[in-house]
């Protein structure tokens, strides 16, 4: 069929132009909405609905004995119909404020439900941008937001679900320097972060400010959930006074995660936050929920109470705001607060080679063996041609395979022995492998700097990344 557009590229150009215009309009709309909300909040909490003002027949003067407007009554009617929740629960919720730290796998469903249920003021802290490999689990974001701040994306999604609550965007990383200022503006905090230093920092800040903390975590096919610092219950440090070794902290970007698993935990975090904010039910304090998705089992266990020895929350402890602000959480946990991957530097420069240099050696036909030390299931996703997969943990047991590969390669290519190169995903494990290989006599082994990611960046951008 004849199109009035000449070709695909013209259509793409027009789509791009329209998207850019839409972004400008979106930004303008959210600024105006925020302005309007500010005005209506100042004018005594009149709810603003789509185009029509609710008449101020609400309020205690209305004679109903509560302060829900007709629009609120209709919107939240299914909550109001719950005998154990009712007008009082909803009214409490509407007056509450909740801060969600992290708009990722846990934060996505938590934020959606907290916005939908009518938390009066909902804050979002995040400093990342939406990426394609987030989409399978971070369901608050849509494809059109890829490359844009998660806070913007999450706030827009929350506003489109419920335009009558106040959404606050904190587009910054939470640090000891700004945490007190941000968290003090809310009644309770939801920890939806992805690293150990943030978890200690958020818990300590909640203790200092006296706020309850709904803490969730998920990696792989397992999740954990509990409520800290609630009504004299334990804090994170009561349970984990000493941080684990950084090598014991699995990250979703390394270990993988089934998208729906943080989804389940994030929903439960919203539930616990709603219970606390509405003062309904029995929060999961002094207990912990353990979720094993693979075997479809949920275990709720009893955990210790507030520890008398806790350095932060016990009666004898004197952990002040000043001490909190000066505490070095990255040093304490030996883990960076940002989610940027670790960059080791274990080897001398002459034991390393850039991916470009390695490419040149392939082109020159140099006799060599390339050992890829990533786990087998990583190797199956993508690998370089003619590479030999020996996962790092099995290197010691499989060294003979390297020896025979080198021997074979040296013979077929009539050179003076074959070179040995080691590759991994990002260039950390390859250094560990080379260190070991040097120790056992393969003294010329070299690691390829930056691993497969470096190769994809500098040599072959068509290589799929994960």
């Amino acid at each position: 069929m004849e199109s009035k557009y000449g070709d695909a590229s013209e259509i793409r150009r027009e789509i791009e132009a329209l998207k850019a215009t839409r972004n400008d309009i979106d930004t303008r709309i959210s600024a105006l909405e925020a302005q309007l909300q500010e005005i209506s909040l100042q004018n005594g909490n009149d709810a603003v609905s789509n185009g029509s003002f609710c008449p101020p027949i609400s309020g205690l003067e209305s004679g109903f004995g509560h302060d829900l407007t007709p629009e609120m009554i209709y919107r939240y009617s299914r909550h109001l119909l719950l005998p154990s929740f009712g007008v009082q629960g909803q009214s409490n919720l509407l007056k509450s404020s909740v801060l969600v730290v992290g708009a990722g796998g846990l934060g996505s469903p938590a934020l959606l439900y907290l916005a939908a249920c009518g938390v009066g003021r909902l804050g979002i802290v995040d400093n990342d941008v939406v990426e394609l490999n987030n989409m399978h689990r971070q369901i608050i974001h849509t494809e059109e937001y890829i490359g844009r701040p998660k806070v913007k994306s999450a706030a827009a999604a929350c506003r489109s679900i419920n335009s009558t609550i106040k959404i606050v965007e904190h587009k910054e990383a939470l640090r000891a320097s700004n945490a007190l200022e941000i968290m003090s503006q809310y009644d309770l905090v939801v920890d939806a972060t992805d690293n150990a230093p943030s978890r200690y920092m958020i818990s300590d800040c909640c203790v200092v400010l006296g706020k309850p903390l709904v803490s969730g975590a998920a990696v792989g096919l397992e999740g954990q959930l509990t409520v800290y610092n609630y009504n004299g219950g334990p804090c994170y440090r009561c349970l984990f006074p000493t941080p684990p070794p950084s090598t014991a902290c699995q990250r979703c970007s390394d270990s993988g995660v089934l998208g729906v698993v943080p989804g389940v935990i994030g929903c439960l975090q919203a539930l616990e936050a709603i219970k606390i904010a509405s003062a309904v039910g029995e929060p999961l304090s002094g207990r912990m929920l353990l979720f094993d998705a693979l075997s479809a089992r949920i275990r709720i266990v009893k955990i210790r109470g507030r520890s008398l020895q806790c350095e932060v929350c016990s009666e004898n402890a004197s952990f002040s705001k000043e001490q909190f602000q000066e505490f070095d959480y990255e040093k304490f946990t030996q883990t960076p607060l940002s989610s940027s991957p670790l960059k080791l530097n274990l080897l001398q420069a002459d034991s390393r080679i850039s991916s470009k240099e390695y490419k040149e050696r392939i082109v020159n036909g140099e006799a060599h063996v390339l050992v890829d030390v990533r786990p087998k299931h990583h190797f199956r996703i993508v690998c370089l041609p003619r590479s030999l997969n020996i996962p790092l943990p099995s290197l010691e047991a499989r060294v003979h395979e390297i020896s025979s590969a080198l021997e074979k390669e040296g013979k077929t290519n009539s050179g003076s022995g074959a070179q040995l190169y080691v590759l991994c995903r990002r260039g950390n494990d390859s250094q560990r492998a080379v260190q070991y290989l040097h120790k056992i006599g393969f003294t010329s082994a070299k690691d390829i700097v930056g691993g497969l990611e470096g190769w994809a960046r500098d040599v072959d951008p068509s290589l799929p990344m994960y």
Partner: protein, 99 residues
């Protein structure tokens, strides 16, 4: 006596990725009771196949591991001195940080 030992939060990777182990362990050194201290030593010797430092530090579990005896934090039952009975369920779980 028969015990069920469960590993989670990544600790199962240290024992051939098997999460649930039905085992038979007897009190050590002629003692009458089996304590958690004895059980840890037994687990380290018999179940942990790699990186034991990811499971234990000194004579107890490493920081970041929760130990639950019959769904109850071992801090509440005496930690290493907790005595075990036939058919007890002991869970070792590593705390998760991801999201």
């Amino acid at each position: 006596m028969q015990l069920t030992l469960e590993f989670g939060g990544g600790l199962e990777l240290l024992c051939d990725s098997v999460k649930i182990h039905k085992v038979s362990v007897e009190p050590q050194n002629g003692a009458e009771m089996l304590t958690m201290k004895d059980l840890l030593t037994w687990v380290r010797t018999n179940l942990i196949k790699e990186r034991p430092e990811m499971f234990m530090k000194g004579d107890t579990v490493r920081p970041g591991v929760l130990v639950l005896v019959n769904d109850c934090d071992w801090e509440l039952s005496g930690q290493l001195n907790t005595t075990l009975e036939d058919k007890d369920v002991v869970v070792f779980i590593s705390t998760l940080h991801g999201g």
